[in-house]
Amino acid sequence: MPLYHNDDQAMLKDSVAPFVAEQAPVSHLRTLRDTADETGFSRELWGQFVEMGLPGMLVPEDHGGLGMGHMEAGIVLEEIGRNLTPSPFLATSVGAVAALAKAGGTQASRWLPAIAGGEAIVALAIDEGPKHRPDRVATTATRSGNGFRLDGKKDFVLHGHVADMSIVSARTDGGITLFAVPKNAKGLTADPRRLVDSSLASHVTFDGVEVDADAVIGEVDAGEEVLNALLAATRTGAAAEMVGVGQGAMDMTITYLKERKQFGKLIGEFQGLQHRAAHLYGEMEVARATVMKAQQLLDEGSEGAKLMVSVAKAKAGRAANLAVREGVQMHGGIGMTDEYDIGLYMKRDRALAEFMGDVHYHTDQVARMNGY
């Protein structure tokens, strides 16, 4: 498979890109922010996503979805990134779907069709501290009656306060187990915090939350494999969204360099800026190729996917971060104003950088996978 979009994928891009740009441009984010929207995204927009069949892209066909791959989901995520569109797509349609599809069973049959149909928003309750450490799980699930009792807390749970279901990792006797915890479960509280990029993420507390035995996603004690599927998909998706954020910031900046005059010249004529712009372009192209490679390997179910997913999250993280920093700097004073969009790119980049492992976490993973 070549590392560029084939005709079908190009067609998908041709329909998704204008859709997102028209229905949810950066002004859409501003509106949600300025009205202190309590959901964190627009239900109406999500309805339009459903009409386009997007939430179920990765859902297998026998569960009512389109059975597409990460390469296709990445096309949507890049546009979401480019337009800074607030949406539950990444957590619900990519992360949760990957876990449920991997696990199969009752929970898959219950939730996958609901996701594809747009009826369910799913949150991922994985981390327990300010940094991504998915293997440090202090939340416990102890056997109780017919099911389990969950105790503990989770942080950085996107859409946690509005999700119809949360996928929760917890420690059981013999390992880690994933649970599907429905909204309104007794003992579950979600405390949403507004983040720098105006999105809402919750601190979630589980205080003796009782779930049935069939709330287990996959097998008891054997949640790691399912968790890994969730992580690989979400990280790759976040990397794709970051490529969109970086590209959006870079495009704005290049345009500005061609318009702004100082010292009687367009600032884009100054070699000091040209070289930095060209360097940034190179970094963005490398990041884009790397994310595509990770998507391709995931879609092929290849052995090498794990390494490439970490490479992609790290590389996209560095490139997008460079894009937003250069973006603000090259805009001069106007780049520091709230009215101008470039700062919003910087904020979204920061949030995505932390989500599911930052550059350092994934660089460390690369070292480990190479045995040092």
Binding site: G268, Q274, E285, V286, A289, G371, Y372
Partner: protein
Amino acid sequence: MSDLDAFRAEVRAWLEANCPAEMREPVRDEDDICWGGRKFQFKSEAQKLWLERCAEKGYTVPDWPKPYGGAGLSAEETKILKQEMKRIGARSPLDSFGIWMLGPALLKFGTEEQKVHYLNQIARGEIRWCQGYSEPGAGSDLVSLQTFGEDKGDHWVVNGSKIWTSYADKADWIFCLVRTDKANKYQGITFMLFDMESEGVSTKPILLISGNSPFCETFFDDVKVPKDQFVGEVNRGWDVAKYLLGHEREMISGGGAGGDMVSVGALFAKSLGRNDHGELDDPILRAEMAAFDTDVFAYRAMGERFMDMWKTGRAHPASSNMMKYVGTELNKRRHELVMAGGGSDALEWDSEESRGGARARSWLRTKANSIEGGTSEVMLNVIAKRILELPGA
């Protein structure tokens, strides 16, 4: 079995039968590289045999057409051949500026007669070529070159000098940029080919910071060049020169991915030691190596995407400049880390254990990667103007 599987089996069997054991040992130094040419001394019988067998089969230039010395393989077949050679650790049968640079330019701009004549010689490693582009006053600003060819009817008389001519003293022929019209900066250059043994050609080696001397100053003093020894059109040599530079850049940028080398971190974890967690014992160096390795894996993905897009005409024509820039800067970073990881061992300059200071010399050599074939600054200029379309001359 698909055609490609059958081809793979055939290649595998051929390599098994024809690649000498000695040619499956890793290349240790310059001496192990086969450059071919009239003056070339084969290091061993195996080296000679390997070249002959590959040339016979068309495998020195597998994707060139058969009449020109190639094997006429498709892109997929060429990829398979390379994979199979890599699998057994086979050395390249022939390294050559003819293959990497002149060949592609001749394939595009040469006459049928030139192709049959020169390409076959290149494929068999009979003629070693050098590149006469740079002059003392024309480096990055290549079109200001002054070497002049005066029209004498059936031949030119060339006068001037070139500099940084790699292996000029070992080469048989030169492909050379010569001004043939002083009035026109761009459209006054002719791309000439001539024998380095022609009367009036002389070379003087230049010692590099690596202590090696792979390149020369080259002088032309009333050199007679027959009128049929040019490529493309007279006075339109710049088109050929630019096209060739694209291929040169591709070749140089390949170094960034480090060939099939293992990750630097893995390479040094053994000698540097590991802590109780099995991590490389120097946390800052480990972090730098891991960041570097991450960039190498990423760059390889870029290389694959670039080739996929290039082959199907999707790549921006100037994207080879970007590959060259990113790849060469990466390769320099690799060698900085190799030196840091090697510590005092890597500093040894001529001891036997250090194979004559191979590490230090390679480190110094890589500094040229971002100069030769166009400097990084010039690459960035081209990206800014041609890809990003930023304003200014």
